[in-house]
Symmetry: C2
Subunit: 241 residues, 2 copies
């Protein structure tokens, strides 16, 4: 502590919650609502939870919360393949290509009698919000649409990216020399998922903060990106389907 220098402030990252968007309904302009709540800077990554993207896009369907069979039918309608089933839990591949629990059907933070389903194309949703933020603020920002996924071998859920725009989903460090000066063999880091997870830390499920800004990411990552093209593992490479 005595005379210890501070950490590398220049290279630091900030994660800022954006509260106060209010309840979102079909047709709401998320970019305009976000732009009114936060002063964005060039290079910011705006993380928007799937829940409000689905609500704004009208991806909300009627569902009797007390009827497990209706819920299973809805999940199956959003799936192209069921991988595992145990009790109420269905692990499936969604029509978008995600492998997750319950095909992204979500009953929390929705009015009774309704559920949200995933946006049709979350990369496109991210691009629209990014374009809207640019129009509203003049800032060049990236956008990630996030959702909450479980993992096969680890308890607890984490937020991951289901769509992105203006940022690479996966950054390939293959061929970058490591600190020993040797080429790294294979280090493709899924920065979009890591950013979604970082954003979740300031959101909290029950605090109704559906947007966060991650400020200070490596500018080299801010280029064209796509979750569906970069993160979804082709079935031929999948060892656990």
């Amino acid at each position: 502590m005595n005379g210890a220098p501070g950490p590398g402030e220049d290279a630091a990252l900030s994660v800022l919650p954006v509260p106060g968007l209010g309840e979102i309904a079909r047709g709401d302009d998320l970019a305009r609502l976000i732009a009114a709540r936060v002063a964005l800077l060039d290079g910011d990554v705006v993380v928007v939870t799937q829940k409000i993207v689905s609500k704004a896009e009208g991806c909300v369907v009627p569902l009797d919360h007390e009827d497990p069979a209706a819920r299973a039918r809805l999940i199956e309608s959003q799936s192209v393949r069921v991988l595992r089933r145990r009790g109420d839990l269905i692990i499936s591949e969604t029509r978008h290509g995600f492998v997750c629990a319950n095909a992204g059907v979500d009953l929390s933070n929705v009015a009774d009698g309704w559920a949200t389903v995933l946006p049709d194309d979350s990369d496109r949703s991210a691009r629209r919000i990014r374009d809207g933020l640019r129009a509203a603020t003049g800032r060049q920002v990236a956008v990630i649409v996030s959702d909450t996924f479980g993992r096969a071998w680890r308890k607890g859920v984490v937020d991951v990216a289901i769509g992105c725009a203006g940022i690479a989903a996966v950054v390939d460090l293959r061929g970058t020399p490591d600190a020993m000066g040797r080429d790294l063999q294979a280090t493709e880091v899924c920065v979009a998922d890591e950013i979604a997870s970082a954003a979740e830390l300031v959101m909290g499920k029950a605090r109704a903060v559906p947007v966060a800004v991650v400020r200070g990411v490596d500018p080299a990552w801010l280029r064209r990106g796509s979750v569906s093209e970069e993160i979804l593992r082709p079935p031929a490479e999948d060892l656990f389907r």
Copy 2:
């Protein structure tokens, strides 16, 4: 932008890289080295990569990098069960209970002819570093030991927690009312993994920054925690083993 309030600075999180630790060797006191490089505050979460924990603990073994059979033998020696094998890639359950590629055996950032293996008990490693940081700085901090894991259905790797001390690995939000005032059904968030992922964003594989400080996490999370007790999924609950 015009008159837009700033984001919620009070609830913001900072992620600060801690560079300059130098090359780590067996017996090095990581807590003392970290304390000399960063002015910690109460409530900080110090994320330390597995690589330097393994080096400090002497979890470094000789390995001919050109001999795939020797590498496979080393991976098998660290495993209790092989789940899948394709080419050089081995997905196994390690003797610690992690399901990951190559049983945590790592050749990057190690001298030629050597490899690191995972610490014997990364929760214990985290506790030792935490105790050392408290002794060196007087601060009450949490510690997470992180490693880089792939995922079954998503390309790219992310950093996750393999050990923790002074912070819950999984935070149970079951029963916390959502923004609609209804009880959330099951939202156990693996904050330790999310914090490890956030830290990775300022580390970078090739930049040799093996430590980061995550500042501003929810103080309610800062209690006793254990990756092995909270995150490892019991085989009976595992649908993909």
